[in-house]
Structure formats: C-alpha cells, structure tokens
C-alpha cells in the first residue's frame, strides 16, 4: 500500500438527539442543509479541497441513509484508486463486538484501517459543523510548530465560552490547559472538534486510554487532558471564518438562513472551494405566474406557485398557489398545499401540509416569547386540513384534520 501522509477520520456516529424528530431516522451528519447539501458535505468537501483523499467515516446511529448517501464517494471525488472514502461501522472481532463507546474508542477500534495507510498524521473531524476550512494549512502549522497535536480553535464571546471546550493557551499557541464547559472561562478559544495528531503518538494514547476502565473514551474528556498532563506539545490553530455547530433546532435554522444574510461570510458559490453533494436528477425549478419569491434559496425540482419569503426550499418541493412560506426551511419533496401557511418552521422531507393548515408562528404574534420557537414537522408526516402546529412544537406523528398541536 502506498504511504498516505494524512488520513482523515470523520466521526459521524452521533445521534444528535437535540435535533429531535429530524434525527429520528437519520444520523445528524445526514440532515439536509442549505437547499441541496447535507451537513457531512462540508467536512467531506473540505477534505478533498484540502488534498486529503483518504477519509474514514465512522457511523453507528441510523447509518442506512448516510451509507447510501456516501456510496462510492464519487460526488466528492473520493472514489480513489488508493484511499478514498470508507464507511466504518463497528464490527465484530474475535474477542467480541463493541459499539463505539466514545469518540476515542471509535478511532481505537479502527486502528487497523488507519495502519493500512501508514500515515504520519491523522485528522479527526466531526460531522456536525458548517464551515469551510483548508485542513492543509492546519497541517502545515502542525508541522511547523512540531506539535504532537494541533487543535483548531475559534474565538467566541466570553458569555458563550461556557458552552464549549475551552483551550487556555500561551501567546505562542501552546496549550497549557483544557477546560470542558467551564463556569468561569479563562479564555475564549473554543475547540472546534478538529484535531491533527501525529499518528504514532495518538495510537499510544488510544491504546493506553482503552486500558483504563474509568475512561469515557472521549477525545475532549480523556485523550486531550491526558496528553496535556503527560507534557505533550499541543498547539492551537486559530480559525476566524464562518463556523457553526448545527446541533440544535435553533442553530440549524439560523445557520441555514445565514446563507441569505449578505453580512454572513459563508460563500458556497466560490468556485475554488466548492461544496459537493449527491443530488437527485431533477429539472430546473419552475416559478409560476402566481408565485412571489423573494430573498430565498430555491433549488432543482421545485415548483413554486405560492409565496416564498426569506426561506430555503430544498429539491423537489412544491408550494401551491395561495400557500405561504416565510422564514422557514422546507426539506426535499415536501408539499405545501394551497391556503397553507408555514412560518418560522422546519418542514422535514416529504411532509405534506394540507390546505388551510398553519405551521409555526411569527415571534411578534406570540404573547410570551419564552413559548416561541421554531416549529418542526418530522419526515414523511401529514399535517391535515386546517390543522395548526404552534410555535416551538416538535411534531412526531401526523396531525389530523383541524387538530391543534
């Protein structure tokens, strides 16, 4: 086997339980984003654009759709003669079978996969962030500083800092302390969950960690603190472009609509850094005489006869005449029928919203703002005629005609 300098391992096994019904049947990295993407398109496209052509995708929770989506890796040009993208579910070994117990354990269980490529470096990624990053620059810094581990960090506000893993670093970037969700953060450098390790060193720590029954086998909780304690050289890699964790309904909704905000620096149309995706073969979108589409993203296969404002329509969505969609995400194949109104909502794949139904509410129409939030309707469900789905509702089964939830 040809030697590979850097192998990427993408942790895609998480359930993403905070996304509720959206991840009931699919893993979080497979959640649709931005009209024609899935979250995992970002790390995969970043890899190929950075010249990293060997990627292991660790799957565990509801992997069917994700496996199918990745397929041979062709849409990302990751169907390579040597390397390419490999889906790595947990598997049975002579001494028994184990689920991936934690992020570090998932990598530990795939040591044989990594060893096949005999890499110098291993890049650890997660499948729940929207960002464009050149990993080759990060690797360059990793080599220049002679670090054992380089961790990408983002400056966040001090108020937000207590929600993240915080790196306390010297001015030269060397990390002296790691604090997971500190109550009183000493710094505002949040870990982005992107690590480059010297493989031989990481391997040693993974094996050591595995022997510790008390360990939760997690990078943030175990591997990084242990390496720090042992005096290994850990260095930050500062990142300042757009980065968003889309782990919650609110952040997923916001991050999608960021694409419509001219002030947000997330340009998906940059030909030098394309985000690739697997897309169905659908004809161009049709915007009818009765349609009013403004300030929105619309993609192939859509038929728009109604009103769409400040929203994102994913592929093959139909908005009938007299229907209204505002401030919402309408995922692939959904149908919003005549007279229906969808506002501040996420409508998952293949949902049908019948005539006269309303989903979601505008914040200005809610008396107590604490009761307000994005309404979500799960995939393949039906919202019956004249039914209404209130703000912040999470709909997990079809709503009957006239029903209020």
């Amino acid at each position: 086997m040809k030697k590979t300098e850097c192998v990427a391992m993408l942790l895609a096994g998480g359930q993403g339980s905070r996304l509720g019904v959206l991840t009931q049947k699919i893993a979080k990295p497979a959640v649709p984003y931005g009209g024609k993407y899935r979250i995992i398109d970002f790390p995969l496209s970043n890899c190929i654009n950075s010249g990293i052509e060997t990627v292991g995708v660790l799957t565990q929770y509801q992997p069917l759709e994700l496996n199918d989506y990745i397929g041979s890796g062709k849409p990302w040009d990751l169907d390579r003669l040597s390397g390419g993208v490999h889906v790595l579910p947990p598997y049975q070994k002579i001494e028994g079978a184990d689920w991936y117990k934690g992020t570090a354990n998932a990598i530990y269980q795939n040591i044989p996969f990594i060893e096949r490529y005999d890499p110098e470096y291993v890049l650890i990624l997660s499948g729940d962030h929207i960002y464009k990053m050149d990993y080759s620059e990060m690797l360059q810094r990793h080599k220049e500083t002679g670090a054992d581990c380089t961790i990408a960090v983002l400056e966040v506000s001090l108020e937000e800092a207590s929600r993240f893993g915080i790196m306390n670093a010297n001015p030269d970037g060397t990390i002296y302390e790691f604090e997971e969700k500190p109550a009183n953060p000493k710094s505002n450098l949040a870990s982005m969950g992107i690590y480059i390790f010297n493989w031989q060193i990481l391997r040693k720590y993974l094996e050591q960690d595995e022997k510790d029954p008390a360990s939760s086998n997690d990078f943030g909780k175990n591997i990084i603190p242990t390496m720090l304690a042992a005096g290994e050289k850990l260095v930050t890699y500062p990142f300042s472009d757009y980065w968003k964790d889309v782990g919650t309904i609110d952040s997923l909704w916001e991050s999608n609509l960021d694409l419509l905000n001219p002030k947000v620096e997330l340009d998906l149309s940059d030909p030098k850094w394309r985000i690739y995706s697997r897309t169905p073969s659908a004809p161009p979108q049709y915007i009818a005489d009765t349609a009013e589409v403004q300030n929105s993203l619309v993609t192939e296969g859509c038929n728009v006869y109604g009103k769409v404002d400040f929203s994102i329509l994913f592929d093959n969505v139909t908005v009938e005449a007299g229907a209204e969609v505002r401030d919402s995400l309408i995922m692939p194949g959904a149908v919003i029928k005549s007279g229906a109104s969808v506002q501040y909502a996420i409508i998952a794949e293949n949902v049908v919203v019948e005539g006269g139904a309303t989903v979601g509410e505008r914040p200005e129409n809610v008396s107590n703002l604490d009761d307000w939030g994005i309404a979500v309707v799960g995939a393949d469900l039906l919202v019956g005629k004249n039914a209404s789905v209130s703000a912040k509702a999470m709909v997990t089964e079809s709503v009957k005609e006239g029903e209020k939830v």
């Binding site: 998906l268 690739y276 004809p283 161009p284 049709y286 349609a291």
Partner: protein, 372 residues
C-alpha cells in the same frame, strides 16, 4: 435491469445547420437545452433508462464541447467495465463523406458494430427532445416480430434537409409507405429517428447500400426494403419535439413552462440525467420578481424575469428585465438591461441599460462569450 442484449448508437451531428447560431461552436448533441441539459442527455437517458449500458456516440465535427460534456459517461451511469460509453469520431478514409447521411457514419464504425455482441441495436438522433420509453418500444418490437421498428409522432411535420420520413401504416402499425413530405407543417406521422433492429441486419443494410452505391440517406435505404422487411411504427404519445430551427428550438424550451410537458419529459421513474456542476441553489433577491419561468441552480436573480428559461449560474442584476428569453449558463445581465425575445449563448454579458429586442418569429441571438 441491465439489458445485455441491446446496444445504442447516438448520432451527434444531426441537422446542425438548422440552428447555426448555436452549432457554430458545438454539435447538435451539445446544444444547451431546458436550463441545465444538453440535447444528447435525452437520447442517452432514454437508452440508459431502458437498461442499455453500451452506447456509441458518433460525432462528425465540432465535437470538443460534446467530449467535454460526455467525459467518461458517469452522469448516465455509462462508465462501465463492459460496454459503457464509446465516442466514435469519424475515421476518415478517402471514400468517406462526413457530410453524408447516417449510412456513411455507420460505415465508419463498422468495426465497432462487428465487435459488439449485443443482438439488437437502438439508434437515436440528437435533435429530438423527448422522454421516449425505449423499453416499451423494444417490447413492441419483439411482440410484432418486426425486422425494424421506428418511433414516430403524430403532429405537424418538422422542417429538415429533405430527409425526414413520414409513414403510412396499416392497422397493426406496419409501415407500408414511406413518404417524402413536400409541405412542412402538415399533420402526419413523422419519424423521430429512433430505430430498433438486429445489429446484423443493420450491418447488412449499410454494407449493401455502400456496395450498390445507393443513396446514403437512411430513408432511401429503408424504403427500398419496405416489401421484404417488416417495418413497424411505434407511436410516441408523450411530448417529443424535433428541433428544426431557431424558433423551434426556442419553442421547445418554452414548452417546458407547461406543467404537463415537464411531467412527461422529466418523468420521475425515467429521469433525464446530465453532467452535474455542483452549483449552489439559486438565490432570489429582495426585489426580484419572477413569473412563469424555469430557472436552474447557481443563479442570482435580483431583477424581473418573465416567461424565460434561465440556465445555470446566470446573474440577473437589480432593475434588469427579461421577458421571453433563453439565457444560457454563466451569462450576466447587468442593471437596467431590458431583453425581449433574446437567446444568449453561454458566458455572455449584457451591459448596463442595454435594450435588446427580437420577435417571437425571429429571436435575437447573442454569440457565446459576447459582451453587448
């Protein structure tokens, strides 16, 4: 399922001269169509949707853009170990006239035909827009025990270089007369030039035509055998359109604004495949006003668009107004430009405030990469 016994052939340069403006830089097969397609996507997808996994494409000239579009054949799932896509440019010898009809083209690829193992061959022309169910057509071919089956459409006869066929058929669909129609536009059963026969029969027809120095026109070769061979017609009921001029090209595009036509042409169980550009979704600006238009991905629409076909990556700036236009990929329509009945080729730029106006019978055509 993969159909191992049928191969396909697509003729790429067909009636290029009827839409000169668009074929100056390309073959008919690579003429852009319908916002994100090229003409050849239709015959290729039709073949592939019928399980045909071996297709030879025969270009004659101007085929660089076609080669670029086809690549390895991956978008049509034709990058195969066995069979797959073969591009068969002319193998010029002194007695080959590339301008002649299909018989000469086929004669240049005889070794490809001879080396194939498939029993049947389906031939298609690249100037027909349609989602033709070739597997149904094959079934009809087997059921009628025909020697040759030709797809036809009932409707007004397209213009062409006198090589179009119209048929008279008996009640079973057997063609008993092939006409050389005099008047374009008369309603008749005209050929869509999708032809099924045994590969060996095709080779024999080509060989005989050459040996006997017959006309190189398909029509003449077939009509000379009309008594010996059982030739059947296969009626195409769905949308199918032969491109026979610039207006016809424009009207075929605008026909897609009709939901029924889109449903037939882009049937979800028989998709039309094309090369993916990985464009972003199209963004509609705050003051955009779009009505009755077909718009591909990767566009930024900030102006007014009415009755238009907009290809991938087009930018319509604020205050620009387009009606009844076909704007091909990556063109930019600057502020306050006003276009009516205009077809722009790829990569054009219409500068600020410019007004261009054609007519429904005479579209104004803007050349590839032109700045107006």
């Amino acid at each position: 399922m993969k159909n191992n016994n049928v191969m396909g052939v697509v003729f790429a340069n067909v009636h290029d001269d009827l839409i000169r403006e668009l074929t100056e830089v390309r073959s008919m097969a690579s003429v852009p169509f319908g916002g994100r397609y090229r003409m050849i996507d239709f015959p290729l997808s039709n073949l592939v949707n019928a399980g045909v996994s071996k297709v030879g494409v025969i270009p004659k000239y101007n085929y660089h853009s076609l080669m670029d579009h086809l690549g390895s054949g991956k978008p049509w799932d034709l990058d195969r170990k066995s069979g797959g896509l073969s591009i068969l440019p002319p193998y010029l010898t002194s007695d080959v006239d590339v301008d002649a009809g299909h018989i000469d083209s086929l004669n240049t690829v005889m070794s490809y035909l001879r080396g194939s193992k498939e029993k049947y061959i389906v031939m298609c022309d690249a100037d027909v827009v349609g989602n033709i169910d070739i597997s149904k057509m094959l079934d009809a071919h087997f059921e009628s025990k025909a020697d040759i089956t030709i797809a036809y459409k009932n409707g007004p006869l397209p213009k062409s270089k006198n090589d179009i066929m119209s048929f008279e058929m008996d009640k079973d669909g057997r063609i008993n007369k092939i006409r050389i129609p005099e008047n374009f536009g008369v309603t008749c059963d005209f050929s869509l030039d999708v032809v099924v026969m045994e590969r060996v029969l095709l080779m024999d027809l080509v060989k005989t035509a050459r040996e006997e120095n017959m006309s190189r026109r398909w029509r003449d070769v077939i009509s000379s055998r009309i008594d010996q061979l059982k030739i059947y017609g296969y009626a195409v009921k769905e949308f199918a359109w032969v491109i026979d001029g610039t207006e016809s090209y424009a009207n075929a595009n605008f026909a897609l604004l009709n939901p029924k036509v889109r449903a037939e042409l882009f049937a979800s169980d028989r998709p039309i495949y094309t090369k993916n550009r990985d464009d972003v979704p199209t963004r509609y600006g705050l003051n955009s006003k779009v009505t009755n238009s077909l718009i591909a991905d990767g566009c930024v629409i900030e102006g007014e668009v009415n009755n238009c076909i907009i290809f991938r990556g087009v930018r319509v700036e604020e205050g620009a107004s387009l009606s009844n236009c076909i704007i091909m990929q990556d063109s930019v329509i600057r502020r306050a430009a006003d276009l009516k009945f205009v077809i722009t080729d790829k990569n054009t730029e219409i500068t600020e405030g410019r007004a261009l106006c054609g007519a429904p019978t005479h579209y104004m055509s803007i050349r590839k990469s032109a700045k107006v």
